[in-house]
Symmetry: C2
Subunit: 113 residues, 2 copies
DNA sequence: GACAATGCATAGGAGGTCTAGGTATGGATT
DNA sequence: AATCCATACCTAGACCTCCTATGCATTGTC
């Protein structure tokens, strides 16, 4: 199949949020929850390992900063990260279109890139 | 999160194909490939374990039959299977809508049930 | 002082997919 | 007859991701 190609939806969403500006784990989770209307609640056990993977692969770069006496690790997307994000979005749309094709739930605006 | 939703995309598609009439593994893989326009190529290592899981959970029932000197294991969807399929389709559409919501790729026809 | 919210992190388990291999038949080609 | 491809099933082991559960530390509220 293709769940490998898809990678993880979590990483894709993290990259997408980060592409709009530097953010940190806790905030990122809230942003994803908001933008998915509460559907996704990123758990720490998924979120932080995913951030570490993306950092290790140099799709994100991180730096610590202090604010309000709290330590925050801010993540910024890299050029490679933007390219990866574009690729994953394209793959996601194809994947979703293919699933909907199999199910017969395909919508006009959904199939293509 | 909900990687369960994504992980079970294979099972959902299998159930959907089986809901249209009895079928067997090899044929099922070809049907999924056709209906996804070649996108999904179910590998044996995903296909057969998935069929066995669905059978074990009584969402499919199976019986062996001979045709052309070949042994085929035909799968039929059960009532429980139909209910599960409906549930998963609904979950899938919500999931896809939520992802598209986060990515900003949402289309009008996609978000709801 | 207790508790919730903020903020990061990891360990261990569960669950799914893939690679790679095995078994077997039938038909076509050489 | 030997070889190859398509058909048709199956499994083991590696690999990856997500979740539960837990730990630590600070700030603000009751």
């Amino acid at each position: 199949m293709d769940s490998q190609t898809l990678g993880s939806a979590v990483e894709m969403m993290i990259l997408d949020v980060a592409a709009r500006g530097p953010t940190y784990g806790y905030e990122l989770a809230r942003t994803v929850a908001e933008r998915s209307e509460g559907y996704f609640e990123l758990k720490e056990g998924s979120l932080y390992p995913a951030l570490h993977r993306l950092e290790r692969r140099k799709l994100l770069k991180a730096h610590w900063r202090d604010a309000d006496g709290r330590r925050r690790k801010y993540y910024e997307i890299t050029q490679a990260g933007r390219a990866e994000l574009a690729s994953r979005k394209s793959t996601w749309l194809k994947f979703a279109g293919a699933v909907n094709g199999v199910l017969g739930t395909r919508r006009t605006g959904l199939s293509g890139a």
